[in-house]
């Protein structure tokens, strides 16, 4: 498999993970994308490093020596630190995701994970941190435009009729324009499904959406990224 190129600007990322093999694995993946990674192996050290600032995102394990991940993030949030947080855990618990988000995490990833899944999520949260202030009304990609208030879609000036879930799918792709979104991210954010379905739900819905948005319009906007997911790109 050729390495997936995410083509995003390199940033500095803080990783708090006590398992050396896992942290080496994550550092390798992020370095491959050109990111710089600072690693802490215990919670207290991680908290101090995060307080010092200068990181675009924090990847933190739930179970850590010294101070657990949840408490670390709660502490940071209590201090008003807005750093985007991605929780990592081996626990496949049902409540873990909710607990992580309530503690102030931005996203959640269950170990073990594929490289593209980790990279896509890190990119999604680190970008989210930058562009959170103004909620846009319209999103545009080349000649495709969606109106988030009226919930209408136009391509080349012509209206396109979409079902509610097709609109949500397109909206999610547009919000993450230029970034890779994985199948799991789509299942979680578009349909609120938190398990691995046996049927090709994402592929089927994506194919329908492409049929309406891309087909017959010249110039594909939605692209399949092999081994990773999808991306909406205007190029």
């Amino acid at each position: 498999m050729a390495p997936v190129r995410f083509l995003v600007a390199p940033v500095k990322i803080l990783l708090v993970e006590d398992d050396h093999e896992t942290s080496a694995h994550i550092v390798y993946a992020l370095n491959g994308e050109g990111h710089e990674v600072a690693v802490c192996h215990d919670g207290q050290k991680g908290l101090e490093t995060a307080r010092a600032g200068g990181h675009a995102a924090l990847i933190v394990d739930r179970m850590l020596p010294g101070l657990d991940g949840l408490s670390l993030v709660r502490q940071l949030r209590a201090e008003g630190n807005p750093i985007p947080v991605l929780f990592l855990t081996t626990m496949s618990g049902l409540n873990d995701r909710v607990e992580g988000l309530q503690a102030g995490g931005d996203d959640y990833l269950v170990k073990p994970f594929a490289f593209p899944e980790l990279l896509a999520r890190v990119h999604a949260i680190s970008r989210r941190g930058a562009a959170q202030d103004s909620e846009p009304v319209r999103l545009r990609a080349a000649d495709l435009e969606i109106d988030l208030i009226r919930r209408t879609v136009h391509r080349g000036g012509r209206p396109i009729e979409l079902q509610a879930q097709e609109f949500r799918l397109l909206e999610y792709l547009m919000r993450n324009m230029g970034r890779v979104v994985t199948r799991t991210m789509l299942l979680e954010h578009v349909w609120d499904l938190h398990f691995d379905p046996r049927t090709n739900i994402v592929e089927t819905h994506m194919s329908r959406l492409r049929g309406k948005v891309d087909r017959g319009h010249g110039g594909e906007l939605i692209h399949t990224v092999r081994g990773a997911g999808y991306t909406l790109r205007a190029d």
Binding site: M1, L94, Q163, L193, D196, T199, N200, S207
Partner: protein, 452 residues
């Protein structure tokens, strides 16, 4: 060890009871003593007054002589134990007491005699100017009665105490025997005999109720433990297979691969196999977690029809691509209490089964209705169905039908469905059909029951 019953609750209770009983005997005794004492004194005073009246009468008829005669008669009376004194101006005229300073009314005094003193109680009166009469009794008699009463009370007190202690010992011994039996049963269970239960006498008393509660707890614990050991066994047995396959693939890749491309393909396949193993782990853990029941704390009222509508919307394109149709019939609002995320997974599993395990052109129907105060959700298809004798096995963990072995999956989908249904207090029924129908009846939310 022999006096262990002294420390039992039963003995403590009977000791307390004995204490209260003894105290009541003491109070009763004191009461009897006071009353008796008073009655005896009244009697002495009455008799003395009668004697004095007789002496006064004697004096009234024939003066000093007759008064002296009456005193002598009284002293000589049968079984007389009284004491008398008739004196004029300090000089004894008659009686068996020495002269004394005259006091009138009911009087008490001690009178020294050879070898000690005696306590006198009686009535004194001037019959005529200068002529003083006293009639009374030795209080020794009073004291004797008091002492007798005290003796009786003491015996009563001792007997009461003895009965209470003996009773307490008996009660606590039997209590101890039963708690010992319970403790022994608990220890035997700890030793590993999980089938054992605490003995119940069938008297529905507090110890029986306690024993029953413990037995129910033990049943629940052993069910959970069986579940746990089954999961561990499943993991041990069934993970061997995919891990062995993974090893085979890697071994074959090492032997056969010649080009970088060959290796790439082999590695992709190995990663896919590893993912399958991890997926199996996740599914097993999730079932165990759902069966643990902690998720129930987050239950909230939800509209089941809306969940099914979401399911139809989600799977309709998938079914269409598989050449099937997916329809929904639901009438009215049906609110149950539950966990939306888990219910979505439950219905997804059932719908995916209907899509994956049936030929093209199958009609899949979701329906929601009410029956007997319950919400009945149904996922049915007109596919080939499942023979009745296999129905029971379908919900077993890691069970896979011969016909579906070629399909990807771990045989955990329906176990998960069963676990989620159980958590919601729902009952699953497989209905023979043309095809297969899975019927799940949920209890309605309380607010819904009121409306009905």
């Amino acid at each position: 060890m022999r006096i262990r019953f002294l420390r039992t609750e039963g003995f403590r209770l009977s000791a307390l009871y004995a204490g209260v009983f003894a105290l009541s005997v003491v109070i009763l005794g004191a009461f009897v003593l006071v009353i008796t004492n008073q009655a005896l004194r009244d009697q002495i005073v009455t008799f003395s007054s009668t004697d004095i009246a007789a002496i006064r009468n004697g004096y009234g008829s024939e003066g000093d002589f007759e008064a002296i005669e009456v005193v002598h008669q009284l002293m000589a009376g049968p079984a007389n134990s009284g004491f008398y004194l008739l004196q004029r101006d300090g000089k004894v005229l008659a009686g068996n007491l020495p002269a004394m300073s005259p006091r009138t009314g009911t009087i008490e005094f001690s009178d020294s005699v050879a070898g000690g003193s005696r306590e006198m109680l009686g009535v004194g009166e001037f019959v005529a100017p200068g002529l003083y009469v006293f009639s009374g009794s030795d209080k020794a008699r009073l004291r004797a009665v008091e002492a007798h009463i005290l003796d009786v009370m003491l015996v009563l007190f001792a007997v009461a105490l003895l009965i209470a202690v003996a009773g307490g010992t008996l009660v606590s011994r039997s209590f101890l025997r039963r708690t010992d039996a319970m403790a022994k049963a608990c220890r035997d269970i700890m030793q590993g005999d999980l089938k054992l239960r605490i003995p119940v006498r069938g008297t529905r008393d507090e110890l029986d109720r306690l024993a029953e509660a413990i037995n129910e707890m033990l049943s629940r614990i052993s069910a959970l433990m069986e579940n746990l050991s089954q999961v561990s066994n499943d993991i041990a047995h069934d993970l061997r297979t995919p891990v062995t396959h993974l090893r085979h693939r890697l071994e074959r890749a090492r032997a056969d691969c010649r080009t970088a491309e060959d290796y790439g393909v082999a590695l992709e396949a190995a990663i896919a196999k590893a993912d399958e193993i991890l997926g199996l782990f996740t599914a097993l853990l999730r079932i165990a977690q759902i069966e643990g029941g902690e998720r129930r704390a987050a239950f909230a009222p939800l509209e089941l029809g809306a969940v099914l509508a979401q399911m139809r919307e989600l799977f309709e394109p998938v079914a269409e691509e598989a050449g099937d149709t997916l329809q929904l019939t639901a009438a009215g609002q049906t609110i149950i209490r539950g966990d939306r995320q888990l219910l979505v997974q439950l219905f997804s599993n059932l719908i995916e089964n209907a899509i994956v395990h049936t030929p093209r052109g199958t009609r899949i129907l979701l329906s929601l209705s009410r029956a007997d105060g319950r919400a009945v959700a149904r996922v049915s298809d007109d596919g080939p169905g499942v023979p009745r004798e296999e129905h029971e096995r379908l919900f077993r963990r890691l069970y896979r039908r011969e016909a579906s072995r070629a399909q990807p999956g771990y045989g955990l989908g329906l176990s998960l469905v069963a676990a989620i249904a159980e958590l919601h207090g729902a009952v699953i029924r497989l209905v023979d059909g043309p095809g297969l129908a899975v019927e799940i009846s949920f209890p309605l939310a309380a607010e819904e029951m009121e409306k009905a």
